[in-house]
């Protein structure tokens, strides 16, 4: 996030929520937003599901799943056409206005109305409310990024913020609400194929700097992205896979394909706290200490580095993940893994990236209850708001407005981008984006299928399903297939009947819940439950050309009612999960 999440309560005038079910997935951020609304802030919500936040919004727009770029371009079109943009900010601090002007020219609010039925007047209302606000904050989650045009979606959002000067001030910004406790930290630590904790692997200066600390040259060749791994295993390029603290059998798209791929590995190592669905497929399983049993730091969505305290001793022989890793590194014969405690690793991180973390000692993080990076020295107070000097992190310090076009056929994206580059004479190193749908509904698979979370559970349920007040209490109903009213009506589905949802990749069976909050033609389910994991059906074939992301939030599917016998049959044939409690399975049947 460019800003601190508490500013939603104290400073934001307009909240612009898109592709986030904030009260379900980030309840405390939702609380801060609602405090802002009590103060007088306005809220816009854009989502295929009329979420709790949508019901509290001043304007709610129900977009079809995946229909983001035409909508966002229409907002930008209106803002430029009506001269609602911040001319001083755009002129002084950005490039590319002419490119964007050209790219959005065909995207009018009327076009949105024609394509989706969303009234043009409402699109205009959103554009004006956002552009006229003194400070407006854009917030989004995976409902923006998990598409084949996810990166371009974010280009469009940052275009909106740059155009309206909503950067570098309290209560504004572009704010991805991070879904996992330490996504920010894992990225900042360099757990990425192209980035180290000091910067890009392709940058010679970065490699030199790391060598000066590690005493060893690192490779300049970017590694494989996680989404490419099943394919690279099948090609015979990856022979050894080491997974820690992650359950890709359930969280990666197209479960069956992932499981098939990992069977080709020479060795698969899984390091975890439970025998997860992924660990069950491993050749070696290494146990490790869990949260509550080890010290360390997390970095939250506002870039705030916070302390994680050990509270209890783990079982005999169980050590923190970093210690397991060091044990292995030392047995391989690698130097530089003789850390005695977590703090020593953190102090090395501070040397690798002094600009961000130089001033963040453990003592200071604990004393001040967390500090946001960049914090280069002990006297620096941290940076809750990025870009206060109106300078971007790019070499020339300017913000880039990125033209984003749209292709009706996903195979035309590169061609259309090239045409745009040639037509406008856009320099080679200037980014250009494009949108398209990964799949379109058809006769065989007439429904849009999307996934998300419920407030009771977290991701693949490894931890929350082992907590009785959540699994057996609040969430006693278990997995459900949520359908829009028109789907239920057409197929004679009632609440609590059994149904099967399937497409060419997989199928799941569960009880039906008719959800009037879903846009017509939409099916929703979670990926919390191994017995009915939405990712069985997710699209792993298509990727975002810029980030490598799969469109996990969007595929197509068919649904039909089934008998209890067929339901039990499907469930038994797909059973792999680690929570073997017959008790609640019977209740849920």
């Amino acid at each position: 996030m460019t800003n601190d999440l508490t500013e939603f309560a104290t400073d934001t005038e307009v909240l612009f929520l898109i592709g986030t079910n904030t009260s379900e997935c980030h309840p405390i951020i939702a609380m801060q937003m609602l405090r802002g609304i009590e103060r007088g802030a306005k809220m816009i919500v854009i989502d295929p599901k009329e979420t709790d936040m949508a019901k509290k919004a001043d304007i709610y727009i129900q977009t079809p799943v995946g229909y983001n770029i035409p909508f966002l371009n229409a907002l930008i079109n209106h803002i430029i056409k009506e001269d609602l943009f911040d001319k001083e900010f755009v002129e002084k601090y950005s490039h590319g206005l002419e490119y964007v002007k050209y790219a959005v020219a065909d995207f009018t609010p009327q076009r949105v109305e024609k394509e989706t039925g969303i009234p043009a007047s409402k699109v205009i209302e959103v554009a004006e409310m956002y552009a006229k606000a003194g400070t407006a904050a854009i917030c989004y989650t995976m409902g923006m990024t998990q598409f084949i045009d996810g990166t371009s979606n974010i280009f469009s959002l940052s275009n909106l913020a740059i155009l309206t000067g909503n950067l570098g001030k309290k209560g504004a910004g572009v704010n991805p609400l991070r879904g996992q406790n330490n996504v920010q930290g894992a990225c900042d630590m360099g757990a990425l194929p192209n980035v180290t904790a000091a910067g890009l692997v392709t940058d010679e200066g970065v490699r030199e700097h790391i060598k000066s600390i590690w005493g060893k040259e690192i490779s300049s060749k970017p590694g494989f992205a996680l989404t490419k791994v099943p394919h690279e295993i099948e090609e015979g390029k990856i022979k050894f896979l080491y997974v820690f603290g992650e359950n890709p059998v359930m969280s990666d798209p197209w479960t069956e394909h992932f499981i098939e791929a990992v069977e080709h590995l020479d060795t698969m190592v899984v390091q975890d706290i439970f025998l997860t669905e992924t660990a069950q497929k491993a050749d070696v399983v290494l146990p490790a200490a869990s949260w509550g049993e080890k010290d360390g730091t997390f970095i939250n969505t506002s870039r705030r580095v916070a302390y994680v305290s050990k509270a209890v001793e783990p079982a005999t022989g169980i050590v923190p993940d970093w210690k397991v890793i060091c044990n292995i590194a030392q047995r391989i014969g690698l130097q530089g893994f003789d850390y005695y405690k977590a703090e020593e690793i953190w102090d090395e991180v501070r040397k690798v990236n002094p600009r961000f973390f130089g001033g963040l000692s453990y003592a200071r993080i604990i004393k001040e209850n967390g500090i946001s990076w960049p914090c280069p020295d002990e006297t620096h107070i941290g940076t809750p708001v990025l870009y206060e000097d109106k300078k971007s992190m790019l070499p020339d310090g300017k913000f880039k407005l990125v033209p984003v076009i749209y292709a009706d056929d996903k195979n035309d994206r590169t061609k259309l981008e090239k045409e745009l580059i040639n037509h406008l004479n856009i320099p080679n190193d200037y980014p250009v984006g494009s949108g398209a749908l990964s799949e379109k509904v058809n006769e065989e698979y007439p429904c849009l299928f999307t996934t998300g979370r419920k407030v009771y559970h977290y991701h693949t349920g490894t931890m929350t399903r082992e907590c009785k007040p959540l699994e057996m209490g609040a969430d006693i109903m278990g997995p459900a297939i949520e359908v829009s009213e028109d789907i239920a009506l057409a197929r004679k589905l009632e609440n609590d009947c059994y149904a099967i949802v399937e497409n060419k990749r997989g199928k799941i069976a569960a009880k039906v819940k008719i959800n009037p909050d879903l846009r017509h033609g939409t099916i929703f389910t979670t990926f919390h439950y191994a017995e009915a994991d939405g990712n069985e059906l997710s699209n792993a074939e298509d990727t975002d050309p810029l980030s490598g992301m799969n469109p996990l939030k969007m595929t197509i599917a068919a649904i039909r009612k089934i008998s209890e016998e067929e339901f039990i049959q499907v469930r038994e044939s797909t059973d792999m999960h680690m929570h073997p409690s017959e008790q609640y399975r019977t209740v849920r049947r």
Binding site: G190, P193, V243, V285, T297, I318, A474
Partner: protein
Amino acid sequence: MDKFQTTCPYCGTGCNIDLLVKNNKIVKAEPTKGHHVNDGELCLKGLYGWEYVHSPRRLTKPLIRKKDGVFSKKGELVEVSFDEAYDFVASKMKKTVDEYGSDSIMGFSSARCTNEDNYAFQKLFRMQGTNNIDHCARL
């Protein structure tokens, strides 16, 4: 009863929790009062999502897939000592790099674990000459 202030392990909000501990067991989670992020409030997962730490299904011993006492892809996961497991992983990793090159190994790091865990993990791979490292931020 002892009290430990920590950061919640679930979403990216970063709420602070006071864990109350008795006889080496967490018995209660309370929101840290007056904390910048969550200001004395917690969601359901923050309040009740700690019980898994003491689950009887926690892994306590390493496992290796074996058939007739030796490693086999067709075997079953059986308990082994920590030394055997660490030696096995180290030798397999080294052998793979020697035989197929640095880029034949790949690591999935964890957005659920600490900075220190993630830093050590990417260093393990980069020190062996590959950037084949990614994590579940995408998922």
